[in-house]
Subunit: 104 residues, 2 copies
């Protein structure tokens, strides 16, 4: 992993779906989430499996933005807003957002 | 950020210290944590500021391991065990571990 450069933001979210593991509904959700990578300003997009036995979450998404304006534009983008309304809110059982910036 | 390659593990932890923000004690803890990067097998080590208003955490650490054996060796390494006992347990007020592996 390349270190997070000054000014950049790494936006991550860990989550659990309401769908059974390995289900077609799970695969369809992950495929829809993968298309968030196409929204302008999204860099270093990853969908990941969360594997720590110390929390309840099953998946994670990580992406980076060049600056707060790019992050805000993503949040407000119609494709993101539609994904949150149509897929995230009805299909995600639990989640936590964690955002990182360089320490200095 | 380079995508997480097959077989690799990204180990992350978000945390809040019991020390006042900007204090010498905070800086000393972060300096001690930075030395975890020297433990064999630790790749892509980062100490980060956690900046989401949607959680309580103030800092994060991220590192990668080539495989589960490298992760286990880190956990059991005397320098890690000593850090947990002497710094982490007394100085960390709250934390959550989140580990990622590639989805496929």
């Amino acid at each position: 992993m390349n270190p997070l450069a000054a000014g950049r933001i790494r936006h991550t979210v860990v989550f659990t779906l309401s769908h059974p593991p390995g289900s077609a509904e799970e695969a369809a959700f992950l495929a829809a989430a993968a298309r968030l990578a196409e929204i302008p300003g999204v860099d270093a997009f990853e969908i990941l499996r969360e594997t720590s036995p110390k929390n309840e979450y099953g998946f994670g998404i990580s992406m980076e933005f060049a600056d707060p304006a790019a992050y805000a534009a993503y949040n407000e983008h119609p494709d993101h807003v539609r994904f949150v309304q149509e897929r995230w809110l009805p299909e995600v059982a639990a989640f936590l957002e964690v955002d990182y910036e360089p320490l200095a």
